[in-house]
């Protein structure tokens, strides 16, 4: 068993190092193949572990070696594969495998093909460390590791130059990469603080020991730890107000978006909350706060997706919105529900992104949906996949999204948090609308792509085949809900609906489905026949502009943080460091020298002056004695 753990963990690392060997060489197809196979091996190992744990019900723990030992701190590289981990591992490796295979197609003409695979596999490794670690600091390794890989991958096309926000809202890949990294770092500080609190209060950072001794801590301390860890989660999962990086992260190659910014990395925050469920279940008020934040992000992000024209950004906002759902569930104590939605979302959202990748290829990297349309003809399969994924996203029976999202709404209802329920319900409608707005704009209507001279074509067969597993899972995953619940609740607290909710389930489901359908229908009416732009509306409607400009938050951040920081830095350097601190030092030196220069004037070469000074010296010495007598 332990070997499987190591295989699952290190196969991606080997894969990454292998690819790194050729990082500076021109494309070698073998690299793509080998890495895909190695990730596939990791997938096999993960699934085997999953099944094994399913059978045995026992977690597998291994300790690789010592890491940090200082004072009373003893941190080892330890890995535990339990139910939650196994699910996460399987999801991660599955999506990773698909994305690796797909990337062979997507990146086929990129000159940094090998480098890309190196980064991508490194990401998988980091993600595996993140989910498999048995302690908070190990999690933090993965946490930062995925951050770096994300930075590398967002900035993959580093050579592109900076644009203004009007031309490219993300400015440039390298800019977006830095933004992502720094925003994550802000949150990581919170996480680090949480870890410090845990260490100094419990003397360990190992999950099992920490959770076993939580009762030793005061409530206030628990709240503190809970909030600190959640701040960490907010960064990685791009929750408000640290959300802006996610949309900008779409500058990375599309497979990256599929893997990192949809299926895996961004869900790390949710994973953390789920993992720390013994903690959060003791502090429901923090949980409620998390739920509220999640709910807010859900509708907030969905609203931005309504009007955006950028194919990938829409999906990014949708991801954000779905992450909100997950947090809502986790916050309300329904950890398995959150995990279930996490997995389901990973499948259909990755599918959606990969589909978007196909479209981009066809459109020569054009992302503006207003310049597409009618692609259904040329790209039947892609249309099929994306449509399927959109349906899943909208929560239409019998697709995976239906089960997961519906359960979240039920939980919200069950907790009597009707506000949350209502908001999420409304968001479901919005979700359906923007998903299908996208589908219709891209695949239906008039063929606007001629204007940009694109010659759309379907993706290669193996790429399409690679998408199949995701599509299949997006369809069938929902039916495994019962098994899933049974499996994970061995570890996570079982969440039981109250009697009342049980009675209401049917009504709730109907209501939810209804609003989803409404969304789809509205989208159909508005966009299936082609694009009719109301320029006046686009230019003058305040709400439209607000949404289109992402509530002006990026601009606000630019103005409120980035620019002042830059200016303050300049002041710190030019005004304070140079003019005050250094000038003081130089001033002292200067003063000494000036004093010397002045006093040498007494030495004017004239003997008479010298004699006078000597006589004055007598008086000076007398004065000193007199003064010292007087003072005494």
């Amino acid at each position: 068993m332990e070997n499987l753990v190591y295989i699952a963990l290190f196969a991606p690392l080997v894969s990454s190092l292998f690819a790194a060997l050729f990082a500076q060489k021109p494309k070698i197809q073998l690299v793509g193949i080998v890495t895909s196979i190695l990730i596939g091996i990791s997938l096999l190992a993960s699934v085997t572990l999953l099944l094994d744990i399913h059978e045995s019900g026992k977690a597998v723990s291994v300790t690789l070696m010592d890491w940090i030992q200082a004072g009373d701190m003893d941190i080892k590289f330890g890995f535990t594969v339990d139910q939650v981990t196994a699910v996460m591992m399987s999801v991660v490796t599955l999506v990773s495998t698909v994305v690796h295979v797909y990337s062979n197609y997507y990146m086929e003409s990129d000159k940094s093909f090998n480098r890309f695979f190196s980064y991508l596999s490194a990401f998988v490794f980091s993600m595996m460390v993140l989910v498999m670690s048995d302690n908070f600091l190990g999690l933090f390794i993965g946490w930062e590791g995925v951050g770096v890989c994300s930075w590398l991958l967002i900035g993959f096309w580093y050579e592109r130059k900076d644009e203004t926000r009007d031309v490219n809202p993300s400015i440039s890949p390298s800019w977006a990469a830095n933004e992502a990294f720094i925003m994550n770092r802000i949150a990581d500080l919170g996480m680090l603080v949480g870890i410090f609190m845990i260490y100094w209060n419990l003397g360990t950072v190992k999950y099992s020991e920490v959770f076993a001794h939580l009762d030793q801590l005061s409530h206030g301390m628990l709240v503190g730890i809970g909030i600190a860890l959640f701040i960490g989660a907010m960064g990685k999962s791009a929750q408000f107000p640290l959300h802006t990086w996610l949309a900008d992260a779409m500058e990375g190659p599309t497979p990256v978006s599929a893997l990192i910014h949809a299926a895996t990395m961004v869900t790390a925050g949710v994973y953390l909350v789920i993992r720390a469920n013994p903690l959060y279940s003791q502090i429901p008020e923090v949980g409620y706060f998390i739920a509220v934040v999640g709910t807010f992000v859900a509708i907030f992000a969905a609203s931005m997706a309504l009007v955006n024209r950028d194919l990938k950004r829409v999906i990014a906002y949708s991801t954000l919105s779905q992450l909100g759902y997950m947090f809502a569930a986790a916050g309300l104590g329904a950890y398995w529900v959150a995990l279930f939605h996490l997995a389901a979302h990973a499948f259909f959202k990755a599918l959606l992104f990969i589909g978007a990748g196909n479209v981009m290829h066809a459109m020569h990297d054009e992302l503006d949906m207003f310049k597409m349309g009618g692609l259904k003809k040329q790209m039947g399969w892609t249309f099929f996949y994306m449509g399927l994924a959109s349906l899943a996203l909208s929560g239409i029976y019998p697709l995976a999204g239906f089960f997961s999202k519906d359960t979240i709404l039920e939980v919200a209802f069950n907790e009597h948090t009707y506000g949350i329920w209502f908001t999420l319900w409304l968001t479901a409608g919005l979700t359906a609308f923007y998903s299908f707005r996208q589908v219709f704009l891209v695949f239906f209507g008039d063929e606007r792509y001629h204007e940009i001279g694109a010659h759309p074509h379907e993706a290669k067969a193996y790429a399409l085949w690679a998408m199949a597993p995701l599509a299949i899972l997006a369809v069938i995953f929902g039916f495994y809900k019962e098994d899933f619940v049974e499996f994970v609740t061995k570890l996570l607290p079982a969440y039981e609906m109250s009697e009342h909710t049980h009675h209401m389930v049917w009504i709730l489901t109907l209501v939810t489905t209804a609003i989803a359908l409404t969304g789809i229908i509205v989208a159909f009416i508005k966009y299936s026949k082609g694009l009719k732009r109301d320029l006046n509306f686009e230019q003058n409607n305040k709400l439209y502009k607000l949404l289109y400009n992402q509530y002006y938050i990026p601009v606000l951040y630019e103005k409120a943080f980035a620019k002042p920081y830059k200016e303050l830095s300049d002041i710190a350097w030019q005004e304070i460091d140079m003019q005050v601190v250094d000038a003081t030092v130089d001033g002292i030196a200067k003063a000494v020298e000036t004093t010397g220069d002045v006093s040498r004037r007494a030495q004017n070469g004239n003997l008479s002056t010298y004699l006078k000074w000597m006589a004055a010296g007598l008086i000076f010495v007398t004065l000193i004695t007199v003064i010292s007598v007087v003072i005494k």
Partner: protein, 508 residues
């Protein structure tokens, strides 16, 4: 070989003198061979070092001036061992990477003399001996900056010299006062540190002495607001000068805090945690901002050094094993990482004769290996886990969290602001289009540079993943140190804050 420390000190000295007789054309090889031999000797020191022993090892004591209690007293423990190795390593790599053509012979001989002073500082257990090496280290550095530096080299060199000299003179007065107290208490003169450790000082005396020593160390570290010599020194120094300055010389200050201030004045150290932590936090945040404002790549690294040293100081004043071990480890890590970064800046400076980031952009395309190593070092610098940079920073901050959570959070912003300026360097220099036509023909790293940099990359990752061989001896000695401090502490506050680790408590 029980006198290995003497060998370590005198081998480069003699080799440096012999260097005068080596032909100019062969001096480079000579330098590399000598530095490599010295490095191997230091590795041998490590190999024969008993990692379980927390006390001083390889002790040598020869009375020099018995009249005044001054002796030639050497010893090494876990705290100093690795800084010694760092010194020899950085000297070796510095010589390997030397790109200077002019007066190469003088440079290599100077470096060897500098090595003597550096090792001497870290293995001296006699305070006067320590002071001698401490002061003497300024001279070769002055020459290195002044002779091979940039346009403002003289200003920079003299500023460096006088500033640090002034600080250490106040420290000298402190040393003499402490010796006087020792004499007054015991009736004999002694300058051995181990003797002084046994001295219980009244708190008001501790306070005076603490600040006297503080000034010497703080200028060397350099702590805000005594830091302004550093940007000049780095900005003007040749690559090898910056490398050694950042990697080793700055560590003298922080080493001094650990070796002197903490065990000699535990109560005063505890009493002044607050002001020093405030200074450290200012160092961290403020200098990070200043670094962000820089236009010169080397200046960024220079200011980043100050920022990182802030974390080290904070860890030192955490008064618990975690923090102090962390800060010592961070000294090593900063030594390696900033040394490597300075070398990297030197690489591009050799090619383009400018360090202004506005001249660059898109370098990753023409110099991929260079960019890769730079990014690795950047990541180590910003404290990415599994690189060497994380462990020290984490432990230092974790240690200080026990003292003050709020201040630790403020100090913890170093991981954010650090990322801001480092990533902006990477972005400005390596990313974006290759706008400047002068950059199009740049050559990637040559073998000489690779030989210098690859070992550092290896160390960065090795110690990031498996720090135990280094951290364990450090930790052992730190435990002993903290225990000593706890034993010596007189005020209740100090007793409370100085935190002896559990296993040390049990052992007692």
């Amino acid at each position: 070989m029980s006198n290995i420390l003497s060998v370590l000190i005198f081998f480069p000295l003699i080799a440096g003198v012999f260097g005068f007789f080596v032909n100019k054309n062969s001096i480079r090889v000579y330098g590399i061979v000598v530095a490599a031999a010295e490095f191997l000797l230091s590795l041998w020191l490590w190999m024969s070092f008993d990692t379980t022993d927390a006390g001083m090892q390889f002790v040598e004591k020869i009375s020099l001036i018995p009249e005044f209690g001054i002796s030639y007293y050497l010893g090494v423990d876990g705290i100093s061992l690795f800084i010694v190795i760092l010194s020899t390593l950085m000297t070796l790599l510095g010589i390997v990477a030397l790109s200077i053509k002019e007066d190469l012979k003088n440079m290599i001989i100077t470096l060897l003399f500098l090595e003597v002073a550096m090792i001497g500082v870290f293995v001296s257990l006699d305070v006067i001996l320590f002071y001698i090496f401490w002061e003497f280290s300024l001279v070769p550095m002055l020459y290195i900056i002044g002779a091979w530096g940039g346009p403002k080299k003289l200003y920079a060199a003299i500023k460096f010299f006088i500033y640090t000299f002034a600080g250490s003179l106040v420290m000298l007065v402190g040393i003499l006062y402490l010796a006087y107290i020792y004499h007054a208490t015991t009736g004999v003169w002694s300058f051995s540190l181990t003797d002084w450790y046994g001295l219980l000082l009244p708190t008001d005396v501790q306070t005076i002495l603490f600040w006297a020593f503080f000034l010497g160390f703080a200028i060397k570290v350099p702590m805000f607001p005594f830091h302004t010599w550093l940007p000049y020194a780095h900005g003007q120094a040749p690559t090898v000068g910056s490398v050694i300055l950042a990697a080793v010389l700055l560590k003298m200050g922080s080493y001094g805090f650990v070796r002197f201030s903490l065990p000699l004045f535990p109560d005063a150290s505890v009493a002044f945690i607050l002001p020093i932590a405030i200074l450290a936090i200012i160092m961290i945040i403020y200098t990070a901002m200043v670094a962000y404002a820089q236009k010169d790549m080397k200046q960024v690294i220079a200011y980043s050094s100050i920022s990182h040293m802030g974390v080290i100081i904070l860890g030192t004043f955490a008064m618990n094993v975690e923090g102090i071990s962390g800060s010592i480890f961070q000294m090593l890590s900063h030594g390696i990482v900033s040394g490597a970064l300075f070398m990297l800046v030197g690489v591009i400076y050799d090619r383009r004769h400018t360090k202004l980031m506005s001249e660059f952009g898109g370098l990753a395309k023409v110099m991929p290996t260079y960019a890769t190593i730079f990014v690795v070092m950047t990541m180590a610098s910003v404290g990415l886990p599994l690189t060497i940079g994380f462990i020290g920073e984490y432990l230092s901050l974790a240690g200080f969290f026990k003292v003050s959570p709020i201040m630790t959070i403020l100090a913890g912003t170093s991981i954010i602001v650090g990322a801001v300026y480092m990533l902006s360097v990477v972005k400005k220099s390596f990313f974006g289009p290759l706008a400047n036509p002068e950059n199009e023909k740049l050559k990637d790293l040559d073998s000489k540079e690779l030989w210098a940099l690859v070992p550092l990359v290896a160390i960065v990752i090795w110690l990031g993943v498996y720090p135990k061989p280094v951290l364990e001896p450090i930790d052992n000695s730190t435990k002993a140190l903290v225990q000593l401090m706890h034993k010596k502490a007189q005020t209740d506050k100090a007793k409370k804050i100085i935190l002896v680790s559990k296993d040390a408590k049990e052992a007692k």
